[in-house]
Amino acid sequence: MSTNSTIKDNPVVLQVEGLKTYFETRWGTVKAVDGVSFDLRKGETLGIVGESGSGKSVTMLSVMRLIPSPPGQIVEGRVLLEGQDLVDLSEKEMGAIRGSQIALIIQDPMTSLNPVFSIGNQVGEAIKIHQDIPKRTVLQQVLDVLRKVNIPAADTRVRDYPHQMSGGMRQRVVGAIGISCEPMVLIADEPTTSLDVTIQAQYLKLLKELQEASDIALIFITHDFGIVAKMCDRVAVMYAGKIVEMGDVRDIFNNPSHPYTEALLSSVPKLEEDVDRLYSIEGQPPTLHDLPPGCPFAPRCQYVRDKCSQSYPPQFNLTDGHYAACWRLE
């Protein structure tokens, strides 16, 4: 985070423009991602925060082109990875990029490893798919990667199967697969939710070190503002398929400008101080197939006014790179 000023000068590696991903369901069209735009620089960490159903995970699956189709489809928008539009690529071309230039670490370390292959096998597989290297050196590379993610006694553990490892170790193996081909962009989807706090701290530190070592651009998909505070340079807050506020991490924490961001931040208990009473956001997150016109947060918003239920607010710029979509800022 101290390298903030230098990161701002880094070249953009990933640019998402007006991304829309819709799902056709029995109840109608679900606009899971509805016009999302952001960019990501080399070495930068972006946090995408939202609750279940906010579209944060679907955004990332769209970027990876992993949307099951049908029922899902990217209906509009561009995803530019170093200028190349991923949306237009064939499945085969995308396969070559996925894992090697842009990689995904999925939520659950229990299900993202195959129980019948040794971990050496699985990390090796990821390497072999993307790199044309002789068999002998694969093992060497696997060991290198496992050491990079701080797996102790890598040369013996490489023969272990997932069930022989603890949750923290498995999470590291998943991380190892993610970085095995030195991607430019690494997406971590709730990477630590199932880990204990002390193990989570170890893992987050590791990710930070890996990022600094090779200037990876990192995206954290999370519902936890704590992860954002600890890890991210910039934040995008998503609600009902749209980014409602985006900015530098300090701008978001010091000057939350969308009522949803503000409410979320004040509804989380604090470790460092006594809070007499938490702010609680009433109501439930909306169901996406039946969105009201206007701002989807309006029914739960404490600042709601007439206009909110009529049309969706545009983005209002606050400071450099900090914007929010709320009529209150008009």
Binding site: S166, D196, T198, Q202, K230, F253, S267, V268, L271, E272
Partner: protein
């Protein structure tokens, strides 16, 4: 005051009546080996000598990582597990040798709310029957009285009486947790064990449920035992906090005192590992190495010593004494 097992029983500034008391609770699970003739080869010491008190109208929090024994402790209080050793006293009476009448009274005085709102409500029962079940079993009420109480409970937890006719799948996670709370309250218990009551919920819903629990505590004058891994939640909800590691309480104290003067190295490590609430909060770099050892063969001496950054000579051999640092603030560590 120096003893060898942590006695997490407040001595300071509280006059509330002691409702529930655990003394020297132990739970060992046998580990067996062999296919035909199975032999016990060891014991998993899930809980190994835990004492605490729950006072009327207060909340005691137990924090710790997975495998520290906090859930097993809760299960023993709920009589879902039989303690290997130790006693549980309710209003001064030992539960172990209680008459069936007293056991019955205990059952309706100690209720529970669990983590997963999808698994804790029987999907085939209507809300009405779900909430009324503890009353049907324990109280002698007419149909009419039962209905009225269900309606009142639903309103008390922020739902409406018409919800009584629905099935659980028609509710969201947060609403289901409200139903679970209404059910627990139906027999007007004195203590409710809350096992990670908000961790399965969406962030914007968690505050709703935490506030609801606080309001209901006031209204029903009920005590809580909160089992949680999220420290900030514990700080918000609890009057007293016990920190558990490998089946034992390592530090105990009034919430504020404990959070501001965390003394046991494990408590400190937990606090440093917890995620900050603001990017400007600088955290001490105190990341523990390794993982929690197996409770099958817990380390000799202080159980935390293999991972402790401040380890000193006597740690691997001697069991640490318990020291009272401030009124009610107890720590079990050689450094003090």
């Amino acid at each position: 005051m120096t003893t060898t097992t942590m006695d997490a029983r407040p001595t300071a500034d509280t006059t509330n009546e002691v409702l529930l008391e655990a003394e020297g609770l132990k739970k060992y699970f046998p580990v067996t080996k062999g296919l035909l003739i199975s032999k016990i080869t060891g014991h998993i010491k899930a809980v190994d000598g835990v004492s605490f008190q729950i006072r009327a109208g207060e909340t005691l929090g137990i924090v710790g990582e997975s495998g520290c024994g906090k859930s097993t402790t809760a299960k023993m209080l709920l009589q879902l597990e039989e303690p290997t050793e130790g006693t549980i006293r309710y209003q001064g009476k030992t539960i172990h040798n209680a008459t069936s009448e007293e056991r019955r009274a205990y059952r309706s005085s100690v209720q529970a709310v669990f983590q997963d709102p999808w698994s804790s409500l029987n999907p085939r029962m209507r809300v009405r029957d779900l909430i009324a079940e503890p009353m049907v079993i324990n109280l002698d009420l007419s149909r009419r009285e039962m209905q009225d109480r269900v309606a009142k409970l639903l309103e008390d937890v922020g739902l409406s009486s018409y919800h009584a006719n629905l099935y659980p799948h028609e509710f969201s996670g947060g609403q289901r947790q409200r139903l679970a709370i209404a059910r627990a309250l139906s027999v007007e218990p004195r203590v409710i064990v809350l096992d990670e009551p908000v961790s399965a919920l969406d962030v914007s819903i968690r505050a709703q449920i935490m506030n609801l629990l606080k309001d209901l505590q006031e209204e029903y004058n009920v005590s809580y035992l909160l089992i949680a891994h999220h420290l900030a939640t514990v700080r918000y909800m609890c009057d007293w906090v016990a920190v558990m590691y490998l089946g034992q309480i390592v530090e105990f104290g009034p919430t504020r005192e404990l959070f501001e003067n965390a003394s046991h190295p494990y408590t400190k490590a937990l606090m440093n590992a917890a995620l900050p609430s603001h990017p400007d909060i600088e955290q001490e770099e105190m990341i523990l190495t390794g993982e929690v050892p197996s409770p099958l063969n817990p380390p000799e001496g202080c159980r935390f010593h293999p991972r402790c950054p401040f380890v000193i000579d006597q740690c691997p051999t001697a069991i640490p004494q318990v020291t009272e640092l401030a009124p009610g603030h107890m720590v079990s560590c050689h450094l003090y």
